[in-house]
């Protein structure tokens, strides 16, 4: 039984700056970045656990998070509106 999703669309979140070993699906370039919840994708078994043939349950809420490129790269030269969207699990997010 999953706990209810913590973040609603539109909420600002910061990606945790953790650096554990293991199979992680939160890209390095997003760690520590501030973005906005675009939507809740649903709840999924944790891939960090599935990687070791464990069930990865209870399912963890997964969010699509939108980041401004100018937030990710200090020297970004495209449009100020350009963005990256990444799917990130709830345990990697803190309120910003």
């Amino acid at each position: 039984m999953t706990h209810p999703a913590k973040y609603a669309p539109g909420v600002q979140v910061r990606v945790r700056k953790l650096r554990p070993p293991g199979h992680l699906r939160t890209p390095w370039y997003a760690r520590g970045a501030v973005g906005v919840i675009e939507r809740l994708c649903g709840a999924f078994a944790n891939p960090e656990e599935l990687a070791y043939n464990r069930p990865g349950l209870p399912a963890v809420p997964l969010y699509r998070v939108r980041f401004r490129q100018t937030e990710l790269w200090p020297d970004y030269r495209g449009s100020g509106q350009d963005s990256v969207e990444i799917e990130i699990f709830e345990h990697w997010l803190d309120p910003a």
Partner: protein, 107 residues
């Protein structure tokens, strides 16, 4: 630079890189068979491995091997590693069979 050892070699988003190589190659039959193995073994019908285990095993490849190996070489290496971890066959069985195949190919 110290930070780089904590970053997975596969976790390359944002790193500097050169021109995107555009020439492709037609998939060889062995590559298509590797693809088929992955699909079949991870399907609910067989459930002998999870794609996440395959990814973890690919990520565990030494950086120079990761760069040198082709996409499907990495996949077969990871499928094999996962099946060994799951105990589907032993290293001995695999080693003997690989040696037999090499001998077959040479004759």
């Amino acid at each position: 630079m110290r930070d780089m050892t904590m970053r997975g070699h596969h976790d390359m988003g944002g790193l500097a890189a050169g021109e995107i190589p555009r020439e492709g190659h037609d998939h060889a039959w062995w590559e298509k068979r590797v693809d088929a193995l992955q699909v079949l073994l991870s399907s609910p019908r067989h459930a002998l491995l999870k794609v996440d285990e395959l990814r973890r095993n690919i990520e565990a490849l030494p950086p120079d091997a990761y760069d040198r190996m082709s996409y499907y070489e990495r996949w077969i290496a990871a499928i094999t590693a996962t099946l060994l971890q799951r105990g589907v066959f032993t290293a001995e069985e695999l080693g003997r069979r690989m040696a037999e195949i090499e001998a077959r190919e040479r004759s």
